[in-house]
């Protein structure tokens, strides 16, 4: 069975920063902003059908949020920020689900850290 490469996009340096001021990205991590920017560039005006799948991968994962969580917990004994720490990732607030939400997509997804 043939697998075709239809489109591609990427995000580097600072091109994701512009999104940070948008209300829907208020709680987004840097990974989420970069992923969202790369997806926007890839899909462009393409109409995505409802059966499209999504695979999100990150080798480092959400280290920044995990670090903030651990520092706050060590200093204050409080379990916060309760956003996207890898150790407490929830189904709705992890990188793959949030990416779908930010892009306005309601699709099944597979994540790989």
């Amino acid at each position: 069975m043939s697998i075709f490469i239809v489109a591609t996009g990427s995000s580097h340096d600072t091109d994701w920063r512009a999104q940070r001021s948008l209300p829907e990205f208020r709680k987004a991590t840097k990974n989420m902003l970069m992923v969202s920017s790369a997806i926007r560039q890839t899909l462009g005006p393409l109409q995505v059908p409802p059966d499209m799948g999504l695979v999100v991968g990150s080798s480092y994962g959400e280290l920044e949020t995990t670090k903030e969580f651990l520092i706050t917990y060590a200093k204050l004994g409080l379990a916060r920020p309760f956003l996207f720490p890898a150790v407490f990732t929830t189904r709705r607030r992890d990188l793959s689900r949030s990416t779908l939400k930010f892009r306005g997509l309601l699709l099944p997804s597979v994540k790989g850290f």
């Binding site: 069975m1 075709f4 239809v6 591609t8 990427s10 992923v35 499209m52 695979v55 990150s58 670090k67």
Partner: protein, 138 residues
């Protein structure tokens, strides 16, 4: 092997006909406070970077749905301990602007290059290797 693994997962999903289009996206970002730890985890001379890359893959059915010409065709994704992979000697220049999931970024650069090589034989800092092959649009 995050990028290669993600690419392989997407092709599996498409080949099993769970969907006709699949978006693959990988991302890695650096954490300033953990810079010392990062630098110790990689070979000396590695220039760590960050980024995200996305690919939209399609089966023939998905391609018909989009009614769009493809950039190319993905023909092979091999990684980890596959003994059939050609040996590539370690070269620190391969780790300039490196992040763990940068294989998709390199694949994208090759696809958009005016003189593509159609084969990515990558070595990782831990010595593992991967091979990604593609052909131009039919």
């Amino acid at each position: 092997m995050t990028a290669e693994n993600s690419l392989d997962t997407a092709t599996t999903i498409l080949k099993s006909k769970q969907c006709s289009l699949c978006l693959v996206v990988v991302a890695d970002s650096l954490v300033e406070d953990l810079a010392d730890g990062f630098s110790q985890a990689y070979p000396k001379g590695t220039n760590l970077s960050e980024g995200a890359t996305a690919f939209l893959l399609a089966s023939e059915e998905g391609l018909k749905h989009l009614n769009q010409k493809p950039l190319g065709q993905l023909t092979k994704v091999q990684f980890d301990d596959d003994k059939n992979l050609p040996h590539k000697p370690f070269a620190i220049k391969d780790f300039i602007s490196y992040y763990d999931s940068n294989a998709l970024d390199l694949l994208r650069a090759d696809i958009l290059s005016p003189r593509p090589e159609y084969t990515l034989n990558l070595q990782k800092p831990d010595g593992s290797q991967s091979l990604i092959q593609w052909t131009p649009r039919a």
